[in-house]
Amino acid sequence: MKLFLKIWRQKDAGSKGAMVDYTLDGVESDMSFLEMLDILNEELISKGEEPVEFDHDCREGICGTCSLMINGRPHGPDSRITVCQLHMRSFNDGDEIVIEPWSATAFPVIKDLIVDRSAFDRIQQAGGYISVNTSGRPVDANAIPIEKEMADKSFNAATCIGCGACVAACKNASAMLFTSAKVSQFALLPQGQVEAAERVENMVRQMDLEGFGNCTNTGACEVECPKGISLENIARMNREYLTASVKG
């Protein structure tokens, strides 16, 4: 199929960017979206032009680096998948496809379609870990039974891949869904209890410092999240936060 691409090009963080048109022929429906971009880049390189830079790594939906706004939707038209899992069979011959980077103050553009998501790393570093010893002194973590329902909820929260689609989808560029997933995965398990109050306070403080917007319960994040992270996590984080500040 033949496609008409409109792609955001920006030399570096300090330069102004612009949409550039490209026509790409010979795209097959079994190609992934990123393979389609690879082919475009091969063409550009052979013509002596600079290829379009975009983030990617695992190409199987687990690392969270591929982050593109496609026709106005984070990760494109299909739901519950990342860009690398999107295939060209979701498009038609002659389609126009608009490709942009995430747009949020806390995610500045590095080049073309690549944004700097280190704000997420700093939120994680503020509390997204467990530092209590769970290796059998005095109790082995593996010996504490956990209800399946709890284990499943924690596991589901832990499937967040830190892609940032929730921020990109939100009109306020809020990072509540991401942060709440990272808080919840531990809040639901016994080993997360010891540091629960500090964790939620530190992570929320870092999230605010990074310049993410407020949550107004619109729910666009949940709709666009490739991993189906539930809004329930935001409610849980708010509860955790309240308890922590009451205990203060």
Partner: protein, 289 residues
């Protein structure tokens, strides 16, 4: 699991089956469906074995320190926990074991001698040499004749590896692979095309550096496979098989890990044998039957 349903009929079993499979493998089945465009709950999945890991990595000592003092390699980057085969989730296991049980103690121990060292100056001949080496390598990559893209070489290498250094390999093809990769590597360094600038973000340059490494590692792979005259784990040498076509190990001559010392050219790598010593288990032949 079916204790609550007495004499379940075929339909119920099928329904239950899908739900249980989904609860356990839903994410994998979704991945499959997205790639292949077939519903794996309804159509048989197309699966085949392929080499997807190196079954090895950087040599490290028991403290996970590499041959460079102070440089540690953790997780799958090192060779320590790999066997001749790789089982699912070993990446996770090794990352956790190294990160949780080993490094917190060994790195601290190493650093304890340097706690008062302060900032290390970059005004040293060692730093200058290292910087010069990196600069020259980058300049060389950027200054190729600019004929073929990095992907062109990556794909060619992939094809050689796939055809001649896959799970099933033989001496004749491995020798061919070694020759072909060496030629491809020479071609790469002369003719690769890296667009853009060296001093800004440049993904093609990053990729070129990696493919340059793969072009060495690939040849070493083939050399290692050629010199190991037995079949073992993910290494099936067609010449060494039982009458039934199963892997034929040679514990007498190959009960060791091959640690190859880098000397610049893959073909000139020096072999160090690390004997495999089993104290509590008895060596057996694994049967999948």
């Amino acid at each position: 699991m079916t204790s609550g349903i007495k004499d379940a009929d075929d339909k119920t079993i099928r329904e239950l089956g899908e739900k249980i499979v989904e609860a356990k493998y839903g994410n994998l089945f979704q991945m499959y469906e997205k790639i292949v465009d077939e519903n794996p709950y309804k159509t048989p999945m197309k699966i085949y074995p392929a080499v997807h890991y190196t079954m090895g990595g950087l040599w490290v000592d028991y403290n996970l320190q590499t041959t460079i003092p102070g440089c540690y390699a953790a997780g799958e980057a090192n060779f320590s926990d790999h066997g001749a085969n790789r089982l699912g989730a070993s990446a996770l296991m090794q990352g956790l074991a190294d990160g949780y049980f080993v490094l917190p103690y060994t790195i601290g121990d190493y650093l304890s001698d340097y706690i008062r060292t302060g900032v290390v100056s970059t005004d040293s001949p060692e730093f200058d040499d290292a910087e010069k080496m990196v600069r020259e390598r980058i300049e060389k990559l950027m200054g190729g004749r600019g004929i073929h893209s990095v992907d062109y070489y990556h794909k060619k290498l992939g094809k050689i590896m796939w055809n001649k250094c896959g799970m099933s390999r033989n001496a004749k093809e491995l020798k061919e692979a070694i020759k072909e990769i060496a030629e491809l590597r020479a071609d790469f360094w002369e003719n690769v095309k890296v667009p853009g600038e060296a001093n800004s973000k440049n993904q093609e340059l990053e990729k070129a550096g990696r493919v340059a490494d793969f072009l060495e590692l690939g040849e070493l792979f083939a050399k290692d496979a050629l010199e190991r005259n037995e079949s073992c784990g993910g290494h099936f040498r067609e010449e060494y098989q039982t009458e039934e076509g199963e892997a034929l190990r040679d514990d007498e001559n190959f009960k060791f890990v091959s640690a190859w010392e880098y000397t610049g050219e893959p073909s000139k790598s020096v072999l160090h044998k690390e004997d495999l010593v089993y104290e509590n288990i008895e060596l057996k032949t694994r049967s999948y039957k």
